[in-house]
């Protein structure tokens, strides 16, 4: 079993992994860049190691620095979290070569399923349908352009190495293709250090429904049902839920069977997700066509949704499986119970095109509501930096039914004050309140098309009594400055402990 685990990540997922470590009696080691010296994840672990300057390339993406940190702290395992190096075959191999347990699939499984082209071949061989597309051998502008023309518009250009909507562009008219190719490549290189592009047919108004699978080294493969993640903005997931409001039992069985079959065919080990596009617009719901999109060979941002409806701890299971133990559950023991919905809170301004916001969290108070889980990576007084992803927290509501889970999530968002930088909370509430979301009719393009107005909807005028509150706070300068100093710099008060 793992004795000491280095968490090669930051933010909420590092904290989530540290919590699983504590419960398992595994010591945890955080890593941090200069920008994160006082970050929440650094105090969530038993030890913490500085790995470099703020740019990810020089810290969280720096394989040598991470391995060196593992050596210095005598860690025997590494968990990559999501993003950063989590789907990097070289990193998994380097960990294995250094004698470290990589908490994830083996390097060859990442190579096989992390590459879109090879994953499609595996899926096709396992009888799972795929969206038409290709990775052009000629990666020049002209080569990728030829691939776009061969597939036809509408087409989607994306980073072969990536996920999360980075390095991804839609092409609706042939004239836009060149700019889209160049933009996607730049973003792919910046985010993944790999500018290889992939081109595929764009399925109109699809639902994004993914199946969570888990496999061990003893030949067991199970699925943990589905998550519907169709609420996306520019291919970035915003709200995720399980069960999907759109799956019939028959369609669910067809999709989970396909995912398990493909995982077996891939010789996959540990947690993974098969993402499917489902075309709900054609035929009866039982027979809706679905297409394998890609596999995520890692833990996902939205894994809590699955944990809430199945009642399992996936990070704990990841560590057990990585240590060579069998899966802690059989397929028969797994069931979906009730409904869970997750909303991602981002530091971004919906009114100005969702520009990421950096700055101080003057006031940040997470709601405490039964049935609401909050996985967050920040605290009041922290500064949201420009160097990393702008996600502050995930709010996950669980209840008996979908309408009750929506009501619970809505209440949590209404009572979650975040002051000092702008967030998408108001936007999330408007999405939850929309008829399209209530009806389960949101497709992956909805927020960028029909639902785009939800972003720019002006907020109502402030009620009169808020002026009275402001008058009361500015009347006594001591009160206002107390709010300011107490929330601005927590380290100012902590320093006293050393005296």
């Amino acid at each position: 079993m793992i004795r000491r685990l280095l968490i090669a990540n930051r933010g909420e997922i590092a904290i989530r992994i540290a919590r699983a470590c504590r419960e398992l009696g595994v010591e945890s080691v955080a890593v941090y860049s200069d920008a994160d010296a006082h970050a929440a994840h650094v105090s969530a672990t038993d030890r913490a190691v500085h790995i470099g300057p703020p740019p990810p390339r020089e810290s969280y993406l720096n394989i040598d620095a991470l391995l060196d940190a593992a050596r210095r702290t005598e860690a025997d395992a590494v968990h990559p979290g999501y993003g950063f190096l989590s789907e990097n075959e070289r990193f998994a191999r380097a960990c294995a070569d250094a004698g470290l347990i990589f908490v994830g699939p083996p390097a060859d499984a990442i190579a096989r399923m992390g590459s879109k082209i090879r994953a499609r071949a595996v899926a096709t061989a396992a009888g799972v349908p795929v969206v038409p597309g290709s990775t052009p051998a000629d990666q020049t502008d002209a080569g990728v352009l030829a691939a776009v023309n061969a597939i036809g518009v509408p087409a989607l250009i994306k980073a072969s190495a990536g996920g999360g909507g980075r390095g991804m562009r839609q092409v609706r008219h042939a004239g836009e293709a060149l700019a889209a190719i160049q933009g996607a490549r730049r973003e792919a290189e910046a985010a993944f250090r790999d500018g290889t592009l992939y081109v595929e047919r764009l399925i109109e108004r699809p639902h994004h429904i993914e199946v969570q699978v888990f496999a061990d080294t003893h030949g067991h493969v199970v699925h943990l049902f589905e998550r519907e993640c169709s609420v996306q903005r520019r291919h970035q997931k915003v709200i995720e839920e399980s069960p999907s409001p759109n799956l019939t039992d028959t369609l669910r069985r067809r999709m989970t069977d396909a995912a398990v079959r493909a995982a077996r065919a891939a010789g996959y080990v540990n947690a993974g997700t098969f993402e499917f596009l489902v075309d709900m617009g054609h035929g009866a719901a039982d027979d809706a066509p679905f297409y394998f999109l890609e596999m995520n060979t890692r833990l996902q941002v939205e894994h809590p949704v699955t944990e809430q409806v199945t009642g399992v701890d996936m990070v704990r299971a990841q560590m057990l499986v990585a240590s060579g133990a069998p899966l802690p559950w059989t397929q028969e023991q797994l069931a979906q119970r009730g409904h869970a919905i997750e909303a991602r809170i981002y530091a971004e301004d919906p009114a100005t095109g969702f520009i990421p916001q950096a700055g101080p969290l003057l006031l940040y108070r997470e709601p405490k509501i039964p049935g609401v889980r909050i996985d967050s990576g920040v605290r009041e007084g922290d500064r949201v930096s420009v160097h990393y992803d702008a996600m502050l927290a995930k709010v996950i509501a669980t209840a008996e039914t979908r309408p009750l889970a929506i009501a619970r999530l809505r209440e949590a968002l209404l009572t979650f004050p975040v002051l000092g930088i702008r967030t998408n909370i108001g936007f999330l509430i408007r999405v939850l309140d929309s008829d399209a979301f209530r009806d389960g009719a949101v497709h992956t393009g909805y927020l960028d098309e029909e639902g785009a107005a939800l972003a720019s909807e002006p907020s109502p005028a402030p009620p009169e009594f808020l002026r009275a509150v402001l008058a009361a706070t500015s009347e006594g300068p001591s009160t206002a400055s107390e709010v300011l100093t107490r929330t601005w710099d927590p380290w100012g008060t902590v320093r006293g402990w050393n005296a």
Binding site: R166, R186, T352, I355, P356, V386, T415, R422
Partner: protein, 134 residues
């Protein structure tokens, strides 16, 4: 409306009793600016009309000074002085928080000057491109 009764009940938290109802309001202050949270809504002082935040995005014909909305790296400069631009045309591509941010001209005009180069780290508020009215 009766005079609201405001009671401080915690660090940055106020209970307001107004017309027999109790409301919870959170307040924070920085650099003279108040941030106020009530019932899922956030207001920034000075309280302005709702459209003021979006006004700058509408097309207009006057001269423009384009600035970075947040600290960012200049990825691409797509115009040079003297070049004509259309409303909505992308003139710069910035990168911050792993995302590309296109900076667009809000109306037609001519590029008067460019104050940044590719690779520059730029701060919010600093003028990057000036465009004169056509």
């Amino acid at each position: 409306m009766a005079t609201p009764q405001v009671t401080r009940i915690g660090n940055g938290v106020y209970r307001v009793e107004v017309d027999g109802r109790a409301e919870i309001v959170h307040v924070a202050v920085a650099a003279g600016q108040h941030w106020v949270h009530w019932n899922g809504l956030v207001f920034e002082s000075p309280f302005s009309e709702p459209e003021s935040r979006t006004r700058s995005r509408r097309a207009h014909d006057g001269p423009q000074s384009l600035t970075a909305p947040l600290p960012a790296t200049v990825r691409k400069v797509l115009v040079e002085p003297g070049a004509p631009v259309q409303g909505g045309e992308t003139v710069l591509v910035l990168e911050a928080m792993k995302m590309e941010l296109p900076i667009r001209s809000s109306g037609p005009g001519t590029v008067r000057s460019v104050h940044c180069r590719e690779g520059d780290l730029v701060q919010p508020g600093v003028v990057l491109v000036e465009i004169s009215a056509s």
